[in-house]
Symmetry: D2
Subunit: 359 residues, 4 copies
């Protein structure tokens, strides 16, 4: 593993970073993750926490030596705040994004921009017109191994992309009330890998096929959702991508990507929790996979914040910007439609909202 | 690796096997592989070699201390021959199978039974009615790791089958004139994994989706064929299988199977050519994959022959019988149709010939 | 990897830790590593930095928002300071340790206590009599994998300890002027694994054999030192330990431990820098080993600090205490003697200073 | 794995080998292993089996379609026999070797030549003077991975040899009555790795240190033997070798070699019985090590025979010749002396019998 970003103040030679004043919007579960990272980052002054529930904001602010507010005007006050991190409920992302754009405040926004793709496209156009620095938190791009895999592909070492295998599997179902408003497996879980697929090969998938099943809790079907699915993407030039997404497996948090090129293959293997092996009479037992979401991806969250702060400092470009995030959502929309219709579906990047599931 | 079967005459306690008189039909490339195995097997008397080209038969017979013939009546003479191994050209398999069945001679037959599924179904019905011992050489079932993977699945250790990932990739295109009569990637390459999928999970896939591309030699398209494809199978109960098949990769012979169950996962990893690692300043270099087909699967061919001889001895049942092989071909037929139509296609096991590609 | 300690303020349930006022003694290279960790730790107020060179102290203090001092009385003022971290030059450790003990201030001390074992034994006796909380920074005990390996051994899962294999290899020679005052490979490098060996098996080695060579820079011989050595320890009951120590290898930072027990074996594998594999025609290339010391062990340094702060909070016992550190040094002393004499040497734990190299 | 030699009659282009008439001396356990290989080898006519017990010879001859004899003159009749394979009891090796040399018959001899090194040196000198083709069955040289490791070392890819780690561990104690006449762990088990060490680095070790314990059956001590030992060899130039040898472990047959060079490292990893992994909630379970001796090294026995037959055909040189085998025994002799004396011992290659254990 590479050392996460905030060890840059080690004795190794390194530049100082500036300190940026951040406001956090949303003090729920994921807001808690972000707040720990904001508090620890040497380039961040963690100025404000806002939540619709003042108690939640207060608790989080106290824990991380920040300040709670119930006044959104304070959050979007560009004299006091340099950047907002939007981690509120999904249906409020677009509105907060619009206010930040209007105030000229940089934005790091949790995905999705909005589940309604027309609304999402509108706010992206608005923010892009304002020229605000904005990034969507598709943090897997900052996983050390995925970044290395992309570097190998871009170097040409394995030739042209022929076929990509992706696996994304979580240890347990999210709560049903979360799933009910998540937009379904394609828009909630697989969408991260739609972004990764585009980012790794530098191509926009043209068509999508998806098929899925409910293998765990039958109540998922009540929400038109699945927990187990296979998606196939067709790339320009004939390359293929397949992604299997499973919401609940019995052996930890499992992600894996493999890119077959015309002259070789590169694989980001499933990550392990450690490197201990026991050799016993019945077989060899290795350390298993990370038990949960936090163990597996917390470093990616820190990496995304690092990258965003670097962009604020003018070092390197922004990560997944709003337009890119919208493309990933357009693929998810087509996949969701394919899942219900059973047909291969063309992706509509220009008017992503024009593709709609039949039910 | 376990020791292949014909080291059973080692000092380890073991039963003696009887000796069975074999005739080999077909002295081409694959006939050569079989003849070396027949010559080495302690339970086989390698009596005859037949080929439409007497020179080829003669060469092979001389090499392996067998006898060449140009008389098919001698091959199907049950007073002199106990078993025939059919390794002739695909279009003659059905006829040879029928003659063996009529003569009451046991058969080990190369796949496919016949590319015309009506014709294949007819000869299977005929042979089954005669009650002859007959096995189709889907030899991957005799790969040590695939057999172990199936054992783990059957034991229930990973729970019910949720999702199967399969990869089958060869190092180089077969000659175009072979490809032209092969029936295409689904019927020639992927069909082995359709058989494996059924065998591993004990379920008959209900529907198939396939999509593919030509990424190597454009002349493949002239034969309506592809070299790179993804197939998705739906199993009864909602389980999913996906298979990627690639005819030509740059890094050796690559096969891999992973079965996700409701409580765990089991994987037959890609096989390596050895276990040497070099730790260098630029990275760690391990032994690569087997360079070619022969290195990867020659043990499976020996395993299949072992299994067949065991069945002749009355030890254990037959491997993939004719009806099972016909099912794998029915899946391939539906996959080939999906590949051209772009739609998911139901598998028709009862009248496999009734599904036909549109072109 | 487990999340390092200061993500305990994540949304996962966790106790608050108290905040302890630390003074750092020594602002050299290793002091810089410690200061970054002190600055980032939520349970630490990084109050003071002392160095014999005020400029160095000032630079480090400014970088980490601490305060520099040239007054040792301020460092050992128990009204203002709860703990000192001793990272000064080796010959001053004992004196600083004595002053902290006298002031009743907790100590985290870099190894060794003192290269003169009589002097080291004296100050250990003194500090133990004062009852001050003191820990020596044998930080490998806080490596995730070594701790897990020890847990497996202690659980009895592999039976009684029969044989331990240890490998400790660095990527490059330390500067010669450092090596000249380091006490030699046994006291500087291998000593960490003497501590680990004792800690893992819970036994005090009885006798030591060591042999070594100079394979890199011949000037090492001028200091009576080696860069490549093999040490064999005999444990009570007949168990054996062997350790190979190499100061300079060409492929990164390489550590590995394997414990053979009477019923199985457990191994902490060499750590990799990532989990990316490239499958190429010439072989499979994996991510290599960590390039240097910092990449490999920085997490262990943080883990040691975490553990020490936990002990200050009264949560869990201290790590390697002074008496344990003295035992590891006693083994190193005997190994250094064996290296020059060529004989197996008994370890003298009660009067470690009584064993002296002949030259 | 590479295909073992006697699949050379595959359809792959290959030369024919001549057929050589072999006599096997010794029809015990190891004679049984050899006889299966002799019977299966296409370049061998398995002409005769001799044993002091005619019943044993008869049983083996019948099983492998050979002929038993109780007449040693028939064995050493060069008009009828081209090569003898000596697998009789250790104390008769030298005499059989001498007779073969006198008759001008090629010899493949089980190790050791003789446990009395004076006697061994005499017969080696005698056979060398006669110029007979003679090879000692240190078959690990024909293990695919060890041969590849040596090739890498010889290529210079990892630089000059600095340190070699060797592990040789068996799953279970041999019977005590075998151990009693085996010459002890150094001469019986570790000697194979003394030969490998010399062969891999092309250097003759100068001095040896060994220490060992009895950790399993205390009766071993009655024979002056150990079951667990560590040996350290010093090479010319300062390189070091350490070897741990364990007679009984709980997890299969474990061998592993690692060569550290001045610019990299190369490792022949412990061999596995297969490549299946199970990912479960409690960890990842891989296929274990080969269960026993036969599974692990039977391919090496076949490889040694292949190599010997190639030498008979004039293709390639002989494997470990008598002089090399004597050197490996000289190292074992010195190691056995060190084991009892506790001192490092110089190896005496010119008069190996001059080194004798004190008891």
């Amino acid at each position: 593993m590479t050392a996460p970003g905030w060890y840059r103040h080690s004795p190794r030679p390194g530049r100082w970073c500036e300190v940026h004043r951040f406001a956090l919007i949303g003090a729920g579960f994921i807001g808690g993750v972000h707040s720990a990272n904001l508090a620890a980052h040497p380039g961040v002054e963690f100025s404000l926490v806002y939540d619709v529930d003042p108690n939640r904001a207060g608790t989080l602010a106290e824990r991380h030596h920040s300040r709670a507010t119930d006044d959104l005007d304070a959050v979007f006050d560009s004299a006091a705040i340099d950047a907002v991190l939007i981690a509120s409920s999904t249906d409020s992302h677009a509105e907060h994004l619009r206010r930040a754009a209007d105030a000229g405040i940089a934005v790091l926004c949790e995905k999705p921009i909005d589940l309604d793709l027309d609304r999402a496209a509108d706010v992206v156009a608005h923010a892009n017109a304002r020229g605000v620095l904005a990034m969507v938190d598709f943090n897997r791009r900052f996983d050390r191994d995925y970044a290395e895999l992309r570097r190998v592909v871009a170097s040409g070492e394995v030739g042209d992309v022929v076929l990509i295998q992706m696996t994304t599997r979580g240890p347990a179902l999210s709560p049903l009330d979360y799933i009910a408003v998540s937009g379904g497996q394609m828009r909630d879980q697989t969408v991260r890998f739609f972004d990764l697929a585009r980012w790794i090969c530098g191509l926009d998938p043209e068509a999508v096929f998806a098929t899925g099943s409910v293998m765990t809790d039958p109540r998922l079907a009540d929400h038109g959702d699945v927990d187990t699915s296979v998606v196939v993407l067709r790339l320009p030039g004939g390359g293929l991508v397949h992604i299997d997404s499973v919401r609940q497996i019995g052996y930890g948090y499992d992600e894996r990507i493999e890119v077959l090129g015309s002259s070789g293959m590169v694989e980001a293997q499933r990550r392990r929790s450690g490197a201990v092996k026991r050799y016993l009479s019945g077989g060899v037992v290795e350390d298993g996979l990370p038990a949960g979401w936090f163990e597996r991806v917390s470093a990616s969250y820190r990496g995304a914040l690092d990258h965003f702060v670097d962009a604020l400092d003018g070092r390197g470009g922004i990560g997944p910007n709003l337009s890119e995030a919208l493309k990933a959502q357009a693929i998810a929309e087509a996949a969701a439609l394919s899942l219900t219709s059973g047909d291969m579906v063309d992706v509509n990047y220009t008017e992503p909202g024009a593709i709609r599931p039949l039910r």
